[in-house]
């Protein structure tokens, strides 16, 4: 556990926590949705500083972790083709598929390359007209504007050898799915600041009203998180259920409209299956029919493959917030960031990796 003195402003942190202690009369369960926020909460021990009864659940906020196994398997199958140069954000390379990962394809001689921006993938396609360049377009609303522009750019350049394997996911439908679950315990949400910087937060207003849950747009700095939790608890105690913006420094209600326009031009909303969670209606983005020529699934006609998760992995429970990484028998032993058995151990934003990085120990026998 970390000490408050390590905070940028320990006095303010202490004051906010004191206020929270006075305010909280009942137990409340709150979910943070963004993997960056999970990392800060676990690393700074914010969950351990909260008054008794205020419980944080770590939501499905890591795009690497929720990319469905079937999609990872498709990526592996396409990347293994001799005519393909497969490009991806680095995080996706070690995500285990049913029969291996992209690193394995590379080791067997496949042309797999890490790019930092989808425009780099477009540039590779331009420089190598003899290669079929495929980009693995994954992520939440934060990477969608970039991936949309890569398609627009390729279309403007008339590139015939560039396609994208799209597995985009959207946050608001995931929140709705969590609230719809019969055993849901979450009473309030911290919405991800950077997702809202792109999309704004009008989409959360009907959710807050319909389900009577407070949703607070929150940054991912320690003080932001304590303040976001305080604002959520204050609403809960006062019986309010509104969308509030803790992160006004970077987020406006309407978001970035130019980025939203590009997303709407290139993508259409579709059902997506979330790794460990299952299919959620209208929870993802696919290429709009007018950009079908840029769809890697089309071009390479990969069939749905038989998928199997590692039997020890309880990632589904972890992504839904019903169990903690420290409840997993493989945590820290068979499964580590170097030898991940499941996706939440791969990316630093994954809950299992965040716990491991902060040195949290596996639950002792009998604690569960």
């Amino acid at each position: 556990m970390k000490y408050l003195d390590e905070y940028r402003d320990p006095v303010l942190a202490r004051r906010l926590l004191e206020e929270l202690r006075k305010l909280a009369t009942k137990p409340w369960t709150i979910m943070e949705v963004c993997g960056g926020q999970t990392h800060t909460i676990v690393r700074q021990g914010i969950d351990e500083l909260l008054p008794a009864g205020i419980r944080m659940i770590h939501g499905p906020g890591c795009p690497v972790c929720v990319t469905p196994l079937a999609m990872v398997d498709k990526a592996v199958a396409i990347a293994a083709r001799p005519e393909v140069t497969f490009t991806s954000y680095g995080d996706m390379l070690r995500v285990p598929g049913s029969t291996g990962d992209l690193v394995g394809v590379k080791a067997r001689g496949g042309d797999v390359r890490v790019v930092y921006s989808p425009l780099d993938a477009v540039r590779i396609a331009e420089a190598h007209p003899d290669r079929q360049v495929v980009f693995f377009a994954v992520g939440f609303e934060t990477t969608a504007p970039a991936n949309a522009m890569a398609v627009l750019h390729a279309a403007a350049r008339g590139l015939a050898n560039f396609t994208v394997l799209v597995s985009h996911v959207l946050v608001p439908p995931a929140i709705t799915a969590i609230l719809d679950a019969p055993d849901n315990e979450v009473r309030g949400f911290l919405a991800a600041g950077h997702v809202c910087a792109v999309m704004g937060y009008t989409q959360y207003e009907p959710i807050a009203a319909r389900y009577r849950v407070p949703i607070v747009v929150t940054g991912f700095e320690p003080l932001d998180l304590i303040e976001g939790i305080l604002m959520t608890v204050r609403q809960l105690e006062e019986g309010r259920a509104e969308v509030e913006n803790q992160y006004a420094r970077a987020v406006h209600r309407a978001g970035n409209t130019a980025a939203q326009d590009a997303i709407r031009e290139v993508f259409t909303v579709t059902a997506r299956s979330w790794r460990g969670v299952g299919e959620i209606p209208a929870s993802g983005l696919a290429l709009a029919p007018r950009y079908a020529a840029y769809d890697a699934e089309h071009r390479f006609a990969v069939e749905s493959l038989n998928t199997t998760e590692h039997p020890a992995c309880i990632a589904g429970d972890i992504l839904r917030g019903t169990r903690l990484p420290t409840d997993c028998a493989a945590y820290g032993t068979a499964c580590t960031p170097r030898t991940p058995l499941g996706a939440p151990m791969v990316s630093a934003e994954g809950t299992c990796a965040a716990f491991h990085g902060a040195g949290r120990q596996r639950s002792t026998v009998g604690s569960r």
Binding site: R8, C34, G35, G36, H39, T40, R43, G61, C62, P63, V64, Y89, G90, D91, V114, Y116, S117, P118, L119, D120, E126, V138, G139, F140, T142, T143, P145, A146, N147, M149, H153, A156, R157, H194, A197, V198, G219, F220, E221, P222, R249, A250, V251, N256, A258, A259, A262, A348, E349, G357
Partner: protein, 90 residues
């Protein structure tokens, strides 16, 4: 790839192959990367922006940029993963 990294715009120019695609160079504490500025048309040299996978998405002030960077530094390898290890140091 989901973390936005704050940096300061040090150069703005039209993209060589797409004049309508506004690009620039952003300085991340000494590490410089080309960044697409098409979604932040109002951002000028000297402004701080949050960059997601090579695209500036929002403008922030200098203090906010410093805070966000401090958090990202605490996440193992986050900067290297988001910006690449083969950075040109300038």
């Amino acid at each position: 790839m989901c973390l936005g990294i704050p940096g300061r715009i040090v150069e703005v120019r039209a993209s060589a192959d797409r004049p309508d695609l506004r690009t620039g160079i952003v300085d991340f504490e000494g590490l410089r990367r080309p960044v697409c500025l098409v979604y932040t048309p109002e951002a000028q040299i000297g402004d701080y922006v949050i960059v997601h996978v090579g695209f500036a998405i929002s403008r922030v002030d200098e203090a906010e940029a410093a805070r966000t960077l401090a958090v990202i530094r605490a996440i193992p390898d986050a900067l290297a993963r988001e910006l690449g290890t083969t950075l040109e140091r300038t």
